[in-house]
Symmetry: C2
Subunit: 565 residues, 2 copies
Amino acid sequence: MNKRILIVGGVAGGASAAARIRRLDEKAEIIMFEKGPHVSFSNCSLPYHLSGIVEDSDSLVLMNPETFKQRYKIEARVHSEVIQINRERKTITVKDLLSDKTYEEPYDKLILSPGATPIRPKAIQGIEKPHVFTVRNVLDIEHLNNYIKQKQVKDIAVIGGGFIGVEVAENLRLANYNVTLIEFANQIMTPFDYDMAQILHKEMADNGVHLIVNDGLAKIGEDFVETHSGKKFAAQAVVLAIGVRPETSLAEEAGLEIGETGAIKVDSNYVTSDPDIYAVGDAVEVYHRILHKPTRLALAGPAQKQARAAANHIYGIPNRNLGVIGSSSIHLFNLNAASTGINARTAEASGFHFDSVYVMPSDKVGLMPDSNVMHFKLVYEKPTGRILGAQAIGKGNVDKRIDVIAAMITMNGTLEDLRDLELTYSPMLGTARDVVHHAALVALNQLNGVYREVKVSQVRELVEKNAYIIDARERREYEAGHLKNAVNIPLSEFRNRLDEIPKDRPVYIHCRSGQRSYNMVMALQHLGYTNVYNISGSYLGICLYEYFNDLAGDREKIVTEYNFN
Amino acid sequence: MNKRILIVGGVAGGASAAARIRRLDEKAEIIMFEKGPHVSFSNCSLPYHLSGIVEDSDSLVLMNPETFKQRYKIEARVHSEVIQINRERKTITVKDLLSDKTYEEPYDKLILSPGATPIRPKAIQGIEKPHVFTVRNVLDIEHLNNYIKQKQVKDIAVIGGGFIGVEVAENLRLANYNVTLIEFANQIMTPFDYDMAQILHKEMADNGVHLIVNDGLAKIGEDFVETHSGKKFAAQAVVLAIGVRPETSLAEEAGLEIGETGAIKVDSNYVTSDPDIYAVGDAVEVYHRILHKPTRLALAGPAQKQARAAANHIYGIPNRNLGVIGSSSIHLFNLNAASTGINARTAEASGFHFDSVYVMPSDKVGLMPDSNVMHFKLVYEKPTGRILGAQAIGKGNVDKRIDVIAAMITMNGTLEDLRDLELTYSPMLGTARDVVHHAALVALNQLNGVYREVKVSQVRELVEKNAYIIDARERREYEAGHLKNAVNIPLSEFRNRLDEIPKDRPVYIHCRSGQRSYNMVMALQHLGYTNVYNISGSYLGICLYEYFNDLAGDREKIVTEYNFN
């Protein structure tokens, strides 16, 4: 008998599962139910409609029900809300939102891919107002875009600095709105550590987004928002992007097991606690391969893989479930940013024995057009050298460097393995020693105790304590901006100026990007200096780390002038 | 006592070794000897001076002897040719090319990094003429550039379609010279298989390079070149880029062992047959990790690694030598191309049990600006699924996709591992299912016998034999260009037109890029068709495969119109 497979949700997970099932079984009856008017739209592309990068919102819809029918013999029922699972009868109850009628549909196998809902905290005063928006689907983005155009909105507040909030803020800014982005935590984009996040903060500020961190939304007025700290910002429209909650109500009401993270619990083949019901996508909890515990991961790539795995399992095809590591990327004005695995903050919080390095090599041969500094942070386990995660930010293809690290994590790679990778190179596209090699070499030096370093976050304290800091750059570089109490002893001069360098106190050394200071540290150590530290991140990193927090102007700058290049 | 370390050659390998030694030993005496006037220049960037991308040839020199001295206490003696190694005395004989005097310098350790010389076959008539150039160093490229400018050269012949020949041809073409590129083999860029090379051939032709394959240079006249087949091409200047020969004369004369490839033989720490002499870079032979035999690999990345390893070994720091896999990339007009590991041709020649897939997914979400097709070929071992190599060509960052494959090869990854990688994604930067995932999925289907395929190279024969070929694209796509005898049965129609599809003969199916034909193949198999084949590469691949060879016009086209997008 032909299988009857019903799918709740017709976007990333649902549509992928349906297409996969059709390829495995030409005769199965496959029906997708979607509450909204669209199936198979590009979720991740929604914000780009606001800037006009995706001009026509219709193009966000990748495939309509007719095409599903014609090409894949898949029925996609839109405006159809699944309101109940009747497990004992193996049926679902569907409400046709156009006719308001309900009916039951029997299934052999049911796949839940309901996604996640934007959080709208009731506690925020004014949250119910009509100019408060969330961004989940094509209708939402059309609704927001139409509203701000028709009402000639000038000022928009975006609440929440995660992927959606940041992308919405960016695209609204590109469309010339005055955008205030309000983030409760001390940084946006939590996949990044605080030091790396400062680069993103600066990019937001440089591009005219008014970024507020360490402050939450308290109240929404008619044309303003007010924060916990009492600050008011003009806003004729508000976009809430605080976070999402997995859509578990259907599953919960049907008595399916919910995991410790609050998402639907599934086994390694995405089977729920009912053997005939699968669940995939943002609504389920997955296993974190590095942290060894359940987690939630609302990303499109994993959702597609899960959908494929669920379809396979229905047809007896074995899956391998490696868990997740959490790889993601974002484009932000002139920068790209990407991360994989765990960051230092998570490693710390999870009790890992770890360390990290922060390097900033050129992403291409310096002579070539579009050669740029790439900021790269690598987190590794001590003493094993196992790679735990990485973050990269720059104008070039940072994401593909992070993909190499993602591959190394999945393959249980160590720093030695990373160092020994034989990667492609040509001057227009990279450097003979790639960014990832550079990070691995520095990390191995650190792991092997070749030299010691202090982090960029420690520099302010060093300056305030009036520590002995050597700026190893050339004089003209020093004069264009330097740490307030740094002594300028260029690498090219230090061998003749050794008598200036004290042996009885710690010596901290930086240059522009860390290469010259590394050489000086090594030389001084060989010359009998026992208390020498390289300043990780060097002058470029220090300036980026300090800049955004200096903007507020309520503290003393530790540099005479910023240098960012 | 302080070590005295002499280095022959001051470019990639030599300069890297010197800098590394200084970091390991502040007191060592380090002297680099370089025949030419420059040390530490960007070898790989030389061709870009011809187009003006690198406008100032001085900028090709990364560091001058003064800077080496000041920063690193390294003495760089230019215009200094090492003419003899006196192993018994542990000295070298140096000729000062300015004063013409010779002298001896004693060493504790000697590192040879003499590079490789461009081949100038004596058999070619006219090879000694002054308008015949090779490209090895800054002087060479200045010499060539000055000559063609001063003599107002219009037509230039470049001989040899390897990296240097292709990059020189491209940059000369960008500077508006009429360029004829002559290649003896049936394709340029041997890291690529013949099918992938056709894409590069088309790019050369599209950008006005007159590309001749299957023909060698026989004679160089005053203002023309003549090929083996008797064709003549205008050329007031000729650039020879036939290949390079490792510089082994110094080593050979000193009685150091030469390997089976004709390069200097070294052990896993780059020690030659003399324990006090190391050799690195283009002059040595290395071990191929996949082919399990010695090979030569004239690339900058490996040279730097070898230099570091040699320096380490001098100071008792252990190295790990994984051998080489051969990763490289090239920028060519509007395309980037990259490869790693072995291609299908090498796999075949080396007796591997292997297969390959050729896919062409989008490199970014289709809605986004700069979304482009990426051509990707993956070679894997049967039945293990071990990844052997990959090639990628497209407008986007193909090289970084190849880097992921390089990582997987080094980590002994299989197709399953590649499929399961969790890579970064955002719509501006990629797709939720990356190009490399796509290739892995198709390869696994092939390896597991899920369906069968024919290669793009077999299509001409199929057309000529009048095989039954289904074009699964929509009608308007078919009408814009199709295989001459293909039947148009769109995926969206085939279920109603099954009676047209024969069961008694093989059925070959293609669409635009392989996705729709894959779905039709699967459905037909489920419907009892036992003799169905997907055409690998699909219509895009077929057009690209046929185009360049069709240009000559001496054979019948198998398509009505080419489609390249």
